[in-house]
């Protein structure tokens, strides 16, 4: 059967605002399938975002959706989760929103290991404002504010999340559609901060400036870049040059923040 996405989407909201070939729609489908896999009750699911193309995602989904200010999604989500820990909380947004203006909130949500799932769509660019370089624009690439090539080094978002303390970190690409929902579902099931980085394409503001001739070529690149972690372990270092590891990169059991705070309440109440 064709997958039933319609029951998760607010009536009348399609077509969405994303450009032709933008991978955010593929990610949204994956997120819907993951929420279905985990049987999330949408009345008790908060989907929180910041500002940017990827942050428009929650508006399409029939749930408790919160489109906040630029960079602040993780902090708003932390308030929601702390105040109502019984809610499932999903954050979505882009690389600029999450790791530049929102970088501090991102790393501290990871550090607290608060139980939420952060779906970070990394398309290497600020798309909504017209293609300025982000902390994830590859060095040397063209953006509207790097006409001579980007002099900045990049963030490895997954490594950043692991270093900051997130207890579940996974990565895939918009090409690997079936892996998107599997990893997000694993993240939702995981008790703690789960970061799912999805390498994505922005044909309009990144692809055109960087000599990609088509959306399909960008998709092919995502396909070629990805090496599953298990396969990578068997490959020599030179074969991994320019590649990115995909799959579950890190998973550990460690105290979750709202559970820790429940203990604080017990202590305060003299239990």
């Amino acid at each position: 059967m064709a997958y039933d996405y319609d029951s998760s989407i607010r009536p009348g909201k399609l077509p969405h605002i994303w450009c032709p070939g933008c991978g955010h729609g593929i990610v949204m489908k994956g997120l819907i399938r993951a929420m279905d896999t985990c049987e999330l009750d949408r009345k008790n699911t908060a989907i929180v975002s910041g500002i940017g193309c990827a942050s428009r995602l929650p508006g399409y989904l029939d749930a408790c959706t919160l489109h906040t200010a630029h960079g602040r999604a993780a902090a708003f989500a932390t308030g929601v989760k702390m105040a109502k820990p019984e809610m499932d909380v999903i954050v979505c947004g882009g690389d600029g929103d999450g790791t530049a203006i929102g970088g501090n909130h991102f790393i501290h949500a990871c550090r607290r290991n608060i139980n939420m799932t952060y779906v970070l769509m990394n398309n290497f660019i600020y798309g909504m404002t017209g293609g300025q370089f982000s902390p994830c624009t590859p060095t040397g690439d063209k953006a509207s504010t790097t006409p001579y090539g980007n002099p900045d080094p990049i963030f490895d978002i997954s490594k950043l999340a692991i270093g900051a303390g997130a207890s579940f970190v996974a990565r895939t690409t918009a090409f690997h559609a079936t892996q998107i929902d599997k990893l997000i579902a694993e993240g939702i099931k995981h008790k703690g901060m789960a970061v799912i980085e999805i390498l994505d394409d922005c044909p309009t503001t990144y692809g055109r400036r960087n000599k990609f001739r088509s959306v399909v070529e960008m998709m092919e690149r995502l396909k070629d870049m990805a090496v599953p972690v298990a396969a990578a372990a068997k490959l020599p270092a030179e074969k991994l040059e320019g590649k990115i590891l995909t799959g579950i990169l890190h998973q550990e059991d460690k105290p979750e923040y709202t559970a820790q705070y429940a203990e604080v309440i017990k202590k305060a109440q003299g239990a």
């Binding site: 064709a2 077509p15 969405h16 032709p20 070939g21 729609g25 593929i26 489908k29």
Partner: protein, 67 residues
């Protein structure tokens, strides 16, 4: 030729003509027609779901046919 395993439904008003589905269909069922996809060879569909999974615009549904 065996009968198609799936029926491709295209929601034309959602299609933005990105060409992803056309490129990744393993049996070349799909074609672009003035920036909107159409099922040019519907009989070749093997219901692999690649086009539905990768369509960013919710514009393709593949209905699997009972064997």
């Amino acid at each position: 030729m065996s009968s198609p395993k799936g029926e491709v439904e295209i929601i034309e008003q959602y299609c933005k003509g990105c060409n992803i589905c056309v490129a990744f269909c393993p049996t070349n069922v799909l074609e672009m027609d003035l920036f909107v996809v159409k099922a040019a060879k519907p009989e070749a569909c093997i219901a692999c779901m690649q086009c539905e999974l990768r369509c960013p615009d919710f514009a393709i549904k593949v209905h699997k046919k009972e064997a």
